[in-house]
Assembly symmetry: C2
Homo-oligomer: 383 residues x 2
């Protein structure tokens, strides 16, 4: 284990009926900004449960957060916080809603423009409105970390910001809330969590270490549970296991004492900034093609991955064989779950790939040193 | 995953040179009670490094904490806290020192007697002196949880107390500090962490769940790394992996959404309360014998354990064969590392077993329903 500093203070309440804890957890706060998406929480009854927990509070609503959430709604939220002297932001939804809540929480206490100061210049914040979440789907893990991703549609840039002040004070996780999530969104969330783990796992050091060992057990668990959860949307065991994996996948734990890659996420962010495809489906396409492009020199890691994640004995394989088999196993899994593995399946053709490659940051990380021309090659390999 | 509530706020600084962070982390506090053991930290130079971090603070020392720490020193610490208006307790040592610091932190703010109120009646506390730790050995995991174990020599009872107010504010973990830990103490610590994981793993539900999956990966990692660490006391990779496993083993993570057993620990506590043997060595003796006594009806769990922890294919085995092979694998591992697996190896004979069994709480947990006569049978099977 290389050196690390770790502190994750989020209080997780994980159970069927978790939302009933809202009343107690939100006690110290009075003027609440309630952030949510397109209104599905009204159909599922989650909205009513939340409002019951907020009885007696002054509640301001900000609805209409879209997948791949945009700056516009963040500005709107910041305005509402200032106007109503909001002292707590409650996000009810998935990653898009929680990420928007985090950007609002930081932006409302900032003198300058949140996009320029935080997402572009990556300046530190010194204050933020406290926030909490009621999670309604799985995948992004935003409920247990301090980062978020926002898209600026004017410049077609989707990027991230994080600060310890943006850890949710609490997150309420009810696995049965995922029963009503549309299948393709569930698939997207499953690919997202698997990709989060791979981003960290496939980075240096390749030596056996505890963070990678935890990652291996969680990736194997994603595979077992995803197969069940996709077939039966009300299988509590599989759904609850996936919900908890998603939180663990990106709450800091798996990255302790090692490098992190996130290059596949960077490649995908451009994809969904241009084509508005679900984040997880974009990852299902680009992540395997990215790994194909960068695996050289890391054969031992792919062998360990085959053995511990897919239970395949790699002892007779050379580096190329092991890496190629591992990557095809990943693609087969994504296909089996119902995700695309090629751009054309999402009606994306070659026409804008060059512009997209130029609009994606060049990146030097543990496994790769990607220039714009490399990024273009990866996009093209995924056509 | 069954329901759970989780929040672990400990800040971990994990690296060679972690103690250099002490100055920064202890900034908010002024009157420090420094708690440590028999003085080995003076020989190793750790004491000097700590005192450098405490420059400018008013420091009161409480030394002489022994393994299986006793009530006497806790009373002494409580007295010192009150007399010197201590606002922070710094534990420098292993689990015995940190556990003592926790009992002092709680006891100093209590009107009544700490042993009666907390360890016997298990009353909640509403206040405690904040504490932190500089870890000098591995095993107990006390550096990242809110519990502690103290022995009352007058009544020969060793038992535990925990409260969220007793989480260390910070713990500084330097894997190189373990280089000077005597081999038998390192063995004891390794068995302790393996036992902590088994206590939780071998409890209900037996269904595949994420907490057990993490446990499996950590138990397999203990085996790989212990073999290296015991042979080479300065192997940074193995020592650092073990140090981090020990913290994860009992920081709450592995017990989320499932039962916990702790019956082997209860059996061991009586053993070391009577014979003052190192806790981990006592566990190496009693834990496998306990499992032999209770495994019936849990064959599938032992099969999964064999497959995922020891990489043995159990598909052709029946329940008895799988459980017996698994338990003998555990014993072989402990023996290989240099731990005892029978009481006579620690010069413990039959003479006091009956008294010990009567002095150990009867216990009904997931895997067992132990009366005094069962406890006696387990002790006798370990002779």
């Amino acid at each position: 284990m290389d050196g690390f500093i770790f502190r994750n203070p989020v209080k997780i309440i994980f159970k069927e009926g978790a939302v009933e804890h809202l009343k107690e957890e939100i006690k110290p706060y009075n003027r609440i900004l309630l952030v949510y998406g397109g209104g599905s929480i009204k159909k599922t009854g989650i909205y009513d449960k939340v409002m019951k927990g907020l009885e007696g509070k002054s509640v301001t609503e900000l609805s209409g957060i879209i997948p791949n959430p945009e700056t516009t709604k963040v500005y709107e939220g910041i305005e509402l916080c200032r106007k109503n002297d909001i002292d707590f932001i409650l996000a009810v939804g998935g990653g898009s809603v929680i990420d928007s809540a985090k950007a609002i929480a930081a932006g409302a206490k900032l003198d300058g423009d949140f996009w320029d100061e935080l997402f572009m210049k990556k300046n530190d914040i010194t204050d933020a409105i406290p926030l909490g979440s009621v999670l309604t789907m799985v995948g992004t893990g935003s409920e247990m970390n301090s980062g978020g991703v926002i898209t600026n549609p004017d410049v077609k840039i989707k990027c991230s910001y994080g600060n310890p002040l943006l850890y949710p004070v609490f997150s309420l996780l009810d696995p049965t809330f995922t029963y009503t999530v549309p299948k393709i969104q569930m698939v997207s969330g499953i690919v997202d969590m698997f990709s989060h783990i791979m981003e960290v796992y496939f980075s240096l050091p390749d030596d056996d270490n505890i963070s990678d060992n935890l990652s291996e057990s969680l990736m194997a668990a994603v595979i077992r549970n995803a197969r069940i959860a996709i077939k039966n949307q009300e299988d509590y065991g599989a759904r609850s296991n996936l919900m908890w994996i998603a939180s663990l996948a990106i709450n800091g734990l798996l990255a302790l004492g090692k490098g992190e890659d996130w290059q596949s996420h960077t490649l995908e962010h451009t994809l969904s900034a241009y084509y508005h495809i679900p984040h997880g489906l974009g990852l299902a396409i680009v992540h395997p093609h990215y790994l194909k492009y960068v695996y050289k020199g890391h054969g031992d890691k792919f062998k360990r991955f085959l053995k511990r994640v897919f239970d395949v004995d790699p002892s007779e394989m050379n580096e190329d064989e092991a890496a190629e088999l591992a990557i095809s196993k990943i693609q087969d899994l994504f296909k089996e779950l119902g995700a695309p593995t090629k751009l054309h399946e999402m009606d994306i053709d070659e026409s804008r790939l060059e512009e997209m490659a130029m609009n994606t940051d060049e990146f030097k990380v543990d496994y790769s040193d990607l220039k714009h021309e490399d990024i273009l090659k990866i996009y093209k390999s995924a056509l």
